[in-house]
Structure formats: C-alpha cells, structure tokens
C-alpha cells in the first residue's frame, strides 16, 4: 500500500481507510524510519497502522495493521520500546487512555490483535494526551484531561499502571495538550484556553502531589488559544507554541514576557508545531489551511534581533518560511519528525492521508 503523490510534490503518500488525526514517530526503532498512525472513525472499526519507510526512502510500506477498539484522539510511541505505544480514545460519550503492545510475530498472524499493556482507567475525564518520559528508559507517563494532570508509573512486565500523583488545575482552566521538557524532566508545559501552564513534577519525588510551579520560573504564559506546544530539544528554555489566529511564537522561558520570535503561521489556525530533533531552529507547523510549513527560526536571529536594521529583519522574516507543503486536501492535524532520519517528517491530514516528505531540498546552509 504505497503510492507516490501526483504533481510536483516529492512526498510519498499513504492512505488510511478513515479520517485520522494522530501520527507518531517510532523513536525506539533504530533500524527503520517508521511511524504509527491511528484512525478517527466514530462508527467503524478503527485501526493503527505501522508504517515503515523503505531503506531507499522511496516507498512507504505498511508493516502492520492492528484494529483498535475506539477512535483515536492521541497516539504516542514509547521512546524506549518500539512495540509499545499509548492512545487516547473516545467512545463518543467518554474518553479513555491505554498503553498497547504490538504482538511480536504480528507479520505471521492473520489478524494480529494489539495487547493491552495497561489501561489508564483511574483517569476519568476528557483526556487529551499521554506524554512519555522525554528520553531514556523510564516508566513514567503523564496523562492530561481538561483540568487534571496524572503522573503514572508503568510496569510493562506486570501489565499495570499506577497513579503516582495527580493534581488539578482547577475548573477555570481547560487544558488541551502538553509537552514534557527534554532538558528538565521535572517540567511539563500544558496548553490551556488562555495560557500555557508550567507544571513542576519535582515535588512528586517527595510523594507530594504534582504542583503548579509558582516561584523561580514563569508558571504561565498568557496567550489565547494555544493549540500546540513543543520544547526545542536542542536548546534549553526555548519553547514554541502554535496559536489559532496568531501563528507561531518562539519563547525563551527565562524572559517569557514577550516572545523572542514570531512566525506568521497559517492562513487559518496553526494546529501543531514540532521542533526538529536534530537541527536547531528547524520548525514544522501544520494548519487547518491544508498546509504544512517548514520554518527556520535560527538561534542567532532569536538572540540578536534588536541590533539588526529593519531591512535585514524584513528580509529575514521572509526567509523564515523555507517551504510550504500545500498538497493536502484537508486540515493537517498529525505531524511528526523522524528521529532516525531527522530530515524526514510525516504528516497526516484529516482525510486519512499520510505524506512523508524530506526537507533536505529546502534546508538553508546550516
């Protein structure tokens, strides 16, 4: 099941059967560049597709196809075990989250079933996302709903998950997603309706519940309608946010009063932003204008923005957008860089179309 896209696009396409929102890079797979995508169908049997990019990079092969009991609203691959991933799903009436394992000999089975490693049933609510410990082998997980954050300890061998701590942001906040700081495993950013909040997990060490960090750093950035958030894995304190109407902002959390950089974003909402895992400053954004934009927000331009003359900065502003991939038929919600081949990314538009692209032709001389 692979196809090349028509037209001038270099992307490799792959069609899921149903509409879909989530795609995740299988970070733990060091042999292949592979992605997991999950469908979003209210009435049909939903599927999780394991996709692998052929070694030549010219084909996208479906390595595994697994049925999933409910429509998938969030999917994240385990960073240390390529067979494990998490999903957030909805039955239409309620939400749930689970950790799944791909069966070992799935290639030879007729209709391979996903093994449920653990259900995060203790978390009741409209769960938005599950976050894995950002790096290394650690069994910590976070699940988030509109008001609460749960910290879990996952035991894969015993197939169980235990709530370590939880805390509530209060009724006023409506959390929509988040990101775990790869530089500081005690910090989690959560996007809310009117702000980005920063949670400190440190207190968890002492058995105290997850607490809102109040001192030292900022505990929130007041910003309306933040859809997506991502930490820059190459530079500490740098965070990017995607906002409905106002595009993309780059923040330095040490001076979070105003963004260090602003990128125009998309014609309609900017839905997701992802920092490249390897190349500092390379940012992808996906939007509801059926486009994926590749940006270059260089470190130098974020640092010494002031002394530049206006002419230069204008020129740079134009050059920030390296490319716009517009060959999509519907809003693009799913976006993932490959960590194995960091110049490759996968995108997933609502109509269930996965497109793998290489950004190599558009890279500036780094």
């Amino acid at each position: 099941a692979q196809a090349r896209m028509q037209g001038g696009s270099s992307g490799i396409g792959y069609g899921l059967k149903y509409q879909a929102r989530c795609i995740s890079d299988v970070k733990a797979d060091t042999d292949y560049t592979s992605f997991l995508a999950g469908t979003l169908s209210l009435k049909e049997e939903n599927e999780v597709h394991l996709l692998r990019l052929s070694s030549g990079g010219s084909e996208l092969i479906c390595e595994g196809l697994f049925s999933h009991p409910n429509e998938i609203w969030d999917l994240a691959s385990c960073p240390f075990d390529q067979r494990i991933f998490s999903t957030v799903f909805s039955t239409g009436e309620s939400f749930g989250a689970a950790i799944w394992q791909i069966p070992e000999l799935y290639g030879q089975l007729n209709s391979p079933q996903l093994e449920r490693v653990a259900s995060l049933d203790a978390h009741v609510g409209k769960i938005n996302c599950v976050l894995w410990w950002p790096s290394g082998r650690c069994d910590k997980l976070i699940s988030m709903d509109e008001q609460n954050i749960f910290l879990w300890s996952l035991d894969c061998s015993n197939k169980s998950a235990e709530v370590l701590s939880k805390d509530s942001a209060g009724m006023l906040h409506s959390l929509s997603g988040g990101a775990w700081d790869p530089h500081d495993v005690n910090a989690v950013a959560a996007t809310g309706e009117s702000s980005v909040q920063f949670w400190d997990l440190r207190t968890m060490k002492y058995g105290i519940s997850v607490d809102l960090l109040c001192s030292q750093k900022v505990n929130s950035i007041e910003r309306a309608h933040v859809r997506g958030v991502d930490y820059n894995p190459k530079r500490e304190h740098i965070l990017i946010t995607a906002e409905d109407e106002s595009g993309i902002h780059v923040w330095d959390l040490r001076k979070a009063k105003a963004p260090v950089q602003e990128l125009p974003g998309h014609t309609h909402w900017t839905w997701a932003v992802k920092c490249n895992p390897e190349y500092d400053g390379l940012i992808l954004s996906a939007g509801t204008d059926s486009a994926v934009n590749l940006w270059y927000a260089s470190a130098s331009s974020t640092n010494n923005k002031a002394p530049e003359s206006p002419v230069e900065s204008t020129r740079e502003r134009v050059n920030l957008l390296l490319n716009s991939y517009t060959d999509y038929e519907d809003s693009v919600y799913g976006l993932a860089w490959s960590s194995r081949e960091p110049w490759v990314f996968a995108s997933l538009s609502y109509d269930g179309r996965v497109v793998i692209e290489s950004v190599k032709p558009f890279l500036p001389r780094l």
């Binding site: 909805s90 007041e222 105003a258 206006p310 109509d351």
Partner: protein, 782 residues
C-alpha cells in the same frame, strides 16, 4: 656668384686651418672640421704619405685627371707660398714696434727716485710732531674725564634726591608711566644705599609709589577707564612688582560670574527668537530682549578683549570662558528644542548664538570657537531634525488615538472614517509642513549653515527615511501586532491585543496604503525637486513603499485575525458549553448565530467606513428573502436525502461519497489573498469563521439532536451570509463542509425534516424582525 663663393671659402678655410696647425704643434688640438677624413688621401692630414698618395692617384686616375690635378696643385703651392710671405712680413712689423715701446719706457722711469726720498722724509717729521702734542695734552684729558664722572654721579644723587618730588609731580599729572620709569631707574641705587645715605629719600619715594600703585589699581578695576589705560596700568603694576595674578583672578572671576547673565534661558528662548526675527524686519524695534542680549555679549567680549591685552598670560582662561559660554549656549539650545520649536524660532536662536560666537571669535580667534560651535551646531541641528520628526510622529499618533473608538457608536457612526481622514491629513500635511520647515533651514545663509547644507540635506533625507520606518513600526505597535518591549519597556505592554479596537487596526492598514501611495511619492517628489544636486541617497522611496505595502497587508491581515479571533471566542463558547452527545431536540435557531452575524455586520460597517468598494459587485438577487430560503432548504433536502441513505448503508461509503463529491466539485479556493476592498475583507472574514466553525464541529461528537441543531443553525446562516459576501460558491461550500463535518461526527445522522427546518427558520426570522422593529421603535422614540 654663390656657386663660386663656396669653393673660395673652402679654400680660405683650408688655408686658415693649415696656418693654425702650423702654429699649434699638437695635431690633436686642430679643429675637428679639418680632420673629417684622416685617410691617406688627405693631403693636409698629419699621416699623409706622399708615395702612397701618388700610387693611388696613378692607379685611380687617367692622364687628364692627373694633369688637371697637377695644375691644381701647382697653383695651390704657389698660393701657399705667397701667403707665407705675407705672414712673415706682418710679424716682422709687429716686432719692430714692440722694440720701440720698450725703449721709450726706459727713458720715462729715469727721474722718479729723488721724489720718493723727499716724501719719506716729510712723513717722518709729521709723526714726531704728533707725538709731541699727545704727550703735552695727556694730563688735561685725564682730569676732564674724572670731572665728567663726578658730574654724572652728582647728577644721579640729585635725581635720587629729587625723586619724591618728581614722583609727586607725576602723580599730579597722572604720568604714571614716567613715575614708574624714574622709580625703577632709581631702584638699584636705592637698594644699595637706601638704608644709609638716602633713607629719607627712599621712604618718601616709596610713599609716593604706594600712592601710584593704589591709583593704578583703581584705574585697573574701574570700568570707565579705557582698555588701553587699564592695560597700561596693569603693565606698570607689573613693572612695580605688584602681584597682578591675584588681581587677575579677581577680575576673571567677576567675568565668569557675568556668564550666567548671558545664557539663553530655554524657557524664554522663544521670546528671544521672536524678537530677533521681528527686529530683523524693523530696525526701529531695537530694545527687544535680543538686543539686550546682544549688548551684554558685546560687553562680555569687550571685557575679554581688555583682559586679554591686560593679562596676556590669561588667554587660556579666557578661551575656557568663551568656550564655556558657547557650550552652554548649545546646551540650552538642546533643552529649548526638546519642546516643540518651529524652524523659524530655531533659526532665531541659532542666529543669536552665532552672532555671539562671531563676537567672541573676533576677540579670541585662537579659541577656535567657530570650530567648537560648528561641531555643536551639527549636533544640535541633527537633533532638531530628529526631534521635529519625532514630534510629527507624536502628532500622528495623537490624531489616531484622539478619538475614543471604543465607544459603541464607532461601528454605526463615521468615527473610523473621521479618524482615517484626520490621521491621513496629519501624515500628508505634517510631512509637507516639516519639509517646508527644513527648507527654511536650508535657505538660511548664516555662515555656519551654509557649510552644513550638504550634511543637512543628508539628515533630512535620512530623517524622512527613519521617520517612515519608525512610523511603520509604531503602527505595528499601535495595532498590537508587535510589542514595543524593545523601545519602551512596560509602556504599551499592558495594552494587550484584545484591548486594541479592531477598527483602529483597520484605520492603520488603510493609512499605510495612503502613506505608500500618496505621502511617500509626494515627499520623494519634493526631495528630488529640492535636492536634485545632492548625491545623498539616504531617502529610498521604493524601499519605504515596499515597507508600507507590507505593513498594510500585515495590518489588514491582523484586522481580520483580530475580528475572527473575536468570532472564534463566540464559537468556542458555543461548542464547549453543551454536551453534544446528550443534546436535546432543536427548538429554535441558537442565539450564537445572532452574535456571529452581529460581529460580521460590525466588520461590514467598519470596512465600509475605511475601505473602497471592489470593482466586482455581485448582482443583488431580485427575489425575496423568503423564496430564497426555500430554494436553499430544497437543496439541503437533497443533501439530507443523500445522508439519510448513506446512514442506512455503511458509513464508510458515505465518507467515500463525500470524498468523491469533493473530487468532482470544483476545488473552491477558500484562502484567497485579501484585497483592500470592503468585499474582500468581509468575504475573507466569513470564510475564516466558517472554517473555524467546521474545525470546532470536528472536535465534538453529536447525537442526532446535536446534529440537527447544527443543521438548523447552518441553514439559517446561509441566506444572510450570502447577502454579505461576494464569493457565494465558497460560502456554500464551507457551509456544506460544516454539515458534512457534523454528520461525520454524529452517532446517528437523521436530518431534520425540511418542513420543520423551514418552520423553525421562519420563526427565527419573525423573531429577529420583531426585535429589529422594537429596536427601531426605541431609537425613533428616543
């Protein structure tokens, strides 16, 4: 003749050469012409070999030639012979006359010796007599010399004795110069013998000198005395070894203190400037403050002139003073121009300062005041240009913010239009005025200005360039698009984008267009017309036009963003609040639709005040609103049928169908470029809002009633939205997309029956009509 003369000359020449070689034994000295050819056939050469010559002749020539040569030679020999004879004769003659001369000399010298002896004798006698006289007078001369010395001494003693009286006389006649001369003349004697022989005399004269010193000091300090006199007094005092330095310090301190009075008070500068300007026009009005100031400075510089002459070593200090005054002048000028100052006033003050500098410069040319003030003037003028520009920006900013556009009437009234017109005028008029002001500066012919003309032209161009640039970023700050944290931290920061009225952003967008299309070209024209000769290229209209073009697009986009953000909030609340899975049967069109339409209506009213109409106007449909609704609902019926059918089948085929439909439907360009027309902005806003609506729908899960509610709301929106928008196809498409999205997210897709749909819509229409009527009634009654 000429032909004959040549050989004759040749011949004579050869003769002469031969003769001269005869007299000069060394052949090498012979003239080079004679030895042109020193070959053996040269009969005259020293190395001539007769035999060889003969051989050669015989070999070379025939008999005739030989004969001819023989005759020729014989003739030549004969000639030579006679010439030699002549020569010998002449020399002999000369010898004879020389012998005669010598004979005569001998006879003349013969009688001289006797005379010489006589002379010697006489000289001897003169010498002996003179010695006699000398010895006899020696004693007398010695005596006379002694007497003379004594007389001199006596005269000096007399002088010392007379000194007091003489000094008194001098005091009386104020001839202090003489007195000092006398006194200093007597000083050596008084010093030596003052304690012994001339005690009284010394005391008396010292007393007199005391008086003289006192008199001189008063003279020095008195301002009524002429400078010459005072200078003389100072010189005399110095000659008398009176410590003048303390006097000098006192005087200079006094002068320093007078500086304060000469300063141009920044607060009163405009008065000064005015008077200066007016007194230029009418000479009669001389008693203005400018005149007073001028006199004061004149006095100051005269004093400086005096002190300089009096104390030549005080130059440095005077330089310092003059420089201090110049510097303070310019410092005060800087203070003065912090306020709003017209070019005329600026020039007025500038002229005054320049006059002061010229006055002082005359006295102290070495203080390099003109250099100093040229530098300071450059700084000040540059600052003035910069300040003028920043004032203009402030004016424009004030005009924009003068109106309280947060009022309710903004949308309905013409407030935005007024703001746009006022601010447009402020920019256009302001920049033109500023240009005229600068023209005044350029026309100024004060020396210092003429030198700075080129610089000034550069500054003006650069100033305009920077002004427009800064205006652009100021617009962006005003619009809330960028925070001004770089420049003035904390000033505008508090003003979040939500507090900034969208209308202002729209005004700024259109104002940017005005600047791009009218203001910049006009200034460019003025600049090229005025500085055609100048080579400064600091003002780049093309670049500025691009900047403002980009800004206008950015601002227009920002306006749309701000507006859609507001609408998004309405939609967000609408979709967040109910539990869509447990929605109850729709009873009426939801009220958020009214809010949505109201917001769009506001957009429409705002753009109508600010933006031009597009060239493309859609044709107003002639049929009434009601029938329009029914046709719409009929089309929905078809759609619903399709959905009902697909509901009975597998939903997968339904999805396939919508995808297929999409393929065949001409792909509607939803996100087209925004243009600066009313229609384009409204259409774009509506499109973005409907897209947002679709996205919100996609995030929910609906039960049957939830879906029906969406269906009803969208159906209601159809007619009014199409009314406002030029691109009906796109709106249709987007509305359908919302329905499709809702059906995809619906657990049980069963559309409302068309009659019920119609009924509910009519009810809503009736209700809003009534509401409008009530509103109209209240407005009419009030």
């Amino acid at each position: 003749m000429a032909t004959e003369a040549a050989p004759m000359d040749e011949k004579a020449k050869r003769m002469r050469d031969l003769l001269s070689s005869f007299y000069t034994p060394d052949p090498s000295i012979s003239t080079p012409t004679s030895s042109i050819s020193t070959s053996f056939d040269n009969i005259n050469g020293p190395s001539f070999d007769a035999d060889q010559y003969m051989d050669l002749m015989i070999k070379k020539s025939n008999l005739d030639v030989l004969l001819q040569r023989h005759v020729q030679m014989a003739a030549e020999i004969k000639n030579l012979d006679t010439d030699l004879q002549m020569l010998v004769y002449e020399n002999y003659n000369k010898f004879i006359s020389a012998t005669d001369t010598i004979k005569r000399m001998k006879s003349n010298i013969f009688g001289m010796e006797g005379n010489m002896d006589q002379l010697l004798h006489k000289i001897m006698s003169v010498q002996s007599r003179s010695d006699g006289v000398n010895t006899s007078l020696f004693e007398k001369r010695e005596h006379i010399e002694k007497l003379h010395r004594t007389r001199n001494l006596l005269r000096k003693v007399q002088f010392i004795y007379d000194l007091p009286a003489r000094l008194q006389k001098c005091i009386k006649s104020e001839a202090y110069g003489d007195a000092v001369r006398f006194y200093t003349g007597a000083m050596p004697i008084l010093k030596v013998y003052g304690d012994t022989s001339f005690k009284d005399c010394r005391r008396a004269s010292e007393e007199a000198i005391e008086t003289i010193i006192k008199n001189l000091q008063t003279k020095l300090f008195s301002d009524s005395e002429s400078i010459q006199a005072r200078a003389e007094a100072a010189v005399l005092l110095k000659q008398l070894d009176v410590p003048v330095d303390s006097l000098k310090d006192k005087l200079l301190e006094k002068l320093e203190q007078s500086l304060d009075g000469l300063q141009i008070n920044p607060d009163e500068a405009s008065k000064l400037a005015e008077h200066n300007v007016s007194s230029k026009d009418e000479e009669s009005n001389n008693q203005g403050p400018a005149k007073i100031h001028e006199d004061a400075v004149r006095g100051f510089s005269e004093a400086m002139r005096a002190y300089r002459e009096i104390f030549p070593d005080s130059e440095e200090r005077l330089f310092k003073l003059a420089r201090a005054l110049t510097t303070t002048h310019f410092e005060n000028m800087e203070l003065y121009i912090r306020k709003r100052v017209s070019a005329a006033d600026f020039l007025g003050i500038f002229r005054i300062i320049w006059e002061d500098v010229v006055l002082m410069d005359e006295v102290l040319p070495e203080a390099a005041l003109s250099d100093l003030s040229a530098e300071a003037a450059q700084v000040t003028l540059k600052q003035f240009v910069a300040r003028t520009f920043s004032h203009l920006q402030q004016d424009i900013s004030d005009t924009l913010l003068k109106f309280d556009i947060n009022q309710k009437e903004v949308v309905d009234g013409e407030v935005l239009k007024v703001v746009l017109e006022a601010s447009g005028k402020a920019v256009l008029q302001g920049t033109t005025d500023i240009f005229q002001e600068f023209r005044q500066l350029l026309d100024e012919n004060t020396g210092i200005f003429v030198k700075m003309n080129d610089l000034l032209i550069g500054w003006i161009q650069k100033g305009f360039q920077d002004f427009f640039r800064s205006l652009e970023s100021h617009f962006l700050v005003l619009s809330g698009k960028t925070s001004s944290s770089n420049e003035t931290e904390g000033l505008v920061e508090g003003k979040s984008s939500e507090k900034i009225h969208a209308g202002l952003i729209l005004v700024l967008a259109q104002l940017s267009v005005v600047i791009e299309q009218k203001v910049i070209p006009r200034i460019a024209e003025e600049i090229t017309a005025s500085f055609s000769g100048g080579n400064s290229q600091a003002f780049i209209p093309g670049e500025l036009c691009r900047v403002f073009h980009a800004a206008s697009e950015k601002l227009l986009q920002h306006y749309i963003d701000t507006r859609t953000q507001k609408i998004s909030n309405v939609l967000r609340k609408r979709f967040k609040t109910p539990n869509w899975v447990k929605h109850k049967e729709p009873r009426e069109v939801h009220m958020y639709v009214d809010m949505l339409l109201q917001q769009l209506e506001e957009v429409g009213k705002e753009v109508k005040q600010i933006l031009p109409q597009g060239t493309f106007r859609k044709h107003k449909r002639s049929d009434s609103n009601g029938s329009n609704t029914t046709t719409s609902s009929r089309s929905t019926t078809l759609h619903s049928d399709k959905m009902a059918r697909s509901n009975s089948q597998r939903a997968r085929s339904q999805l396939f169908e919508t995808h297929l439909a999409k393929l065949f439907k001409q792909k509607v360009e939803i996100f087209t470029k925004v243009e600066f027309t009313q229609e384009s902005v409204v259409t774009t806003t509506v499109k973005l809002c409907l897209k947002s609506l679709q996205e919100y729908v996609r995030l929910q899960t609906f039960n049957r009633s939830g879906f029906q509610q969406i269906q009803l709301d969208i159906q209601f929106l159809k007619a009014p939205l199409k009314e406002t928008v030029e691109d009906e196809a796109a709106i249709d498409f987007l509305l359908d997309e919302v329905i499709v999205a809702a059906s995809e997210r619906c657990l049980d897709v069963t559309p409302l029956e068309p009659p019920i749909l119609d009924k509910l819509i009519q009810a809503k229409l009736a209700k809003s009509k009534e509401h409008n009527n009530n509103n109209n009634k209240t407005t009419v009654s009030s």
